[in-house]
Symmetry: C2
Subunit: 358 residues, 2 copies
Amino acid sequence: MSRSTGRRLGRAGIRDVAAAAGVSITTVSDALNGKGRLPDATRSHVREVADRLGYRPSAAARTLRTGKSGLLGLTVTTYGDEPFTFTEFAYFAEMARAATSAALARGYALVILPATSRHDVWSNVALDGTVVIDPADGDPVVTELVRHGIPVVSDGRPGGALPVTGWVDNDHEAAVLGLLDHLADAGARRIGLLTGNTTDTYTRLSTTAYLHWCERVGQDPVYESYPAHDPCAGAVAADRLLARPDRPDAVYGLFDPNGTDLLAAARRYGLRVPEDLLLVCCSESTLYAATEPPVTTLSLKPRRIGTAVVQILIDAIEGLDTGRPIEQVIPTDLIVRASSQRRSPRTTVSPPRGPTGD
Amino acid sequence: MSRSTGRRLGRAGIRDVAAAAGVSITTVSDALNGKGRLPDATRSHVREVADRLGYRPSAAARTLRTGKSGLLGLTVTTYGDEPFTFTEFAYFAEMARAATSAALARGYALVILPATSRHDVWSNVALDGTVVIDPADGDPVVTELVRHGIPVVSDGRPGGALPVTGWVDNDHEAAVLGLLDHLADAGARRIGLLTGNTTDTYTRLSTTAYLHWCERVGQDPVYESYPAHDPCAGAVAADRLLARPDRPDAVYGLFDPNGTDLLAAARRYGLRVPEDLLLVCCSESTLYAATEPPVTTLSLKPRRIGTAVVQILIDAIEGLDTGRPIEQVIPTDLIVRASSQRRSPRTTVSPPRGPTGD
DNA sequence: GCTTCGGAAAGACACGTTTCTGCATGGTGA
DNA sequence: TCACCATGCAGAAACGTGTCTTTCCGAAGC
């Protein structure tokens, strides 16, 4: 059987296009990729024939030949056994969405990969680079990746001297300090903290910033920590915090659900917000604009982070040395609502939520 | 220069392993993949050498040879220009998470792809199959995929005779009818609907079910429709609905943010929920358990849908004919809270939210 | 008139696997 | 002893591209 007829099953290959157009494989490749020196007549002719045959170049063959796959890994390594926690916190969803957008705009696609270094999945996909969200100290996945020469850019400062290509992060210390000052300005005398017991940099930096602030203003730290990946533990810890003899009159919750957890706990203890208890939590959810009362939130700007991470990563992959810094600090945004304002200017009517912007 | 020394740059290939272990390439491949007939001694020896060299098989080469990439596309084609709407609705985040989990458990990874058929991205990745969320009628992306012989399984019944491999969906008619009956049982005399003006099957089926119900019970339909992808339009439409002369005394909102939109609108008009206005919205967000009052939600069970979609797709890819049906209907779940109960049994204390389960 | 030069296209190889086929070898039954 | 089979392994052909090198041919330069 001849080659051209034998290839009838399956998609058309570059050979079929060459044969149909009456040119060589080289010419087809050059015509479609805009390389080589060909007259426009040949170029358009080849393109027309390729379109007619429904020709799609094999991504696998191209990857094998060029060494570039156009795929970026996306993984989050913290918070338990689940492969990722997209839904747990709106932060991840927002960040992943922005990262995907930015990648697509530059011709790359994102592959969602598990935190565990299950070889069969990680090695079954050719990656040009990887985005790692919140790597733990000395993360094995990251070290293995860089050992194989794959660029890695992390969301969150890498701990434990991880040799990543770059990172993007907020200034968590500054954010927490500013937020605590805001609460103190609103009249808080004893500020409590709801935090996590994991070792990621976000939790660690935020907690130490809180302790530093307490030391500076001479307040005894009042905090409860719990495993952040357990959906129930947050509610329990919130309750514990408000049940203490040295009950705080203001609380900052590090994680997204803490706001509702604390609101519920306050209701149980008959504490009015913000009269008896000031409240702030770190969240990207717009629903906190509609709670009763609306809760002041700290936004980490995940959209900007996701975009920046991908830009840095692709720049590194393509070897182009833009002026863009390899390490970027994104400012946070404190969205002040009724829950952290003693003399609340408006408690009855809240305007419909506007466009999120950014 | 000799081959083995020349390959020092870049990762070790299968040839290097073969040379180092003193066997042939075939033996290495067979040993690592558990194929062929080799004594255990050779097998373990080869594996040990491969580990020592840090050998990772090239995914591109394997894909080229076997025709299987282990990659599944994930795309959502509706709701505007943004490549996807992961964050807009918790539904997508949950569904994507479940799909990713299920895929990883079977050795596949998910690639997030845009709704537009931008060739450069779609054709740059070798897909074994694709999951499509909410395809529009006659979706060009889907038709092109199946034309190239790539299995497609959709979340949501495909409209316009799309030749997909299979689909998973809820019984939206039954869900809406049951929900409206629930509101009527709670004392609603005139039920309104907040819906979208897009053509996806979810919106269409839900809306027609509402109209059928109205016809059955002899109520004039009262509804407002708006572009669901616009974050502000929902709030505006909610306001419009409650401003009508034939103001409903109960409302069902088809989309996730409708609950808070309607709560805010009700507050503006001085309507008490549930006393003056019964409320239900379709959402997966647990935050509706903590609003004031808590809002009754209809869950579409995105976790189960995401899992089922991936199972069907991978079964089709691997050609194994399990007894699993190719078209599955997942039951919905009405989570009744205070907003839809006139004689509310508990309005003051709401227990801390439990594990989401499923 | 012969060489040179440059444009246009073809040939051939390499990317790194998987896998089909085939060659030894040693043991076994007739 | 010979045919036969199971075992253990090696050779080599694909898979479908991109790209380097080479060839061909007409026109211009000396």
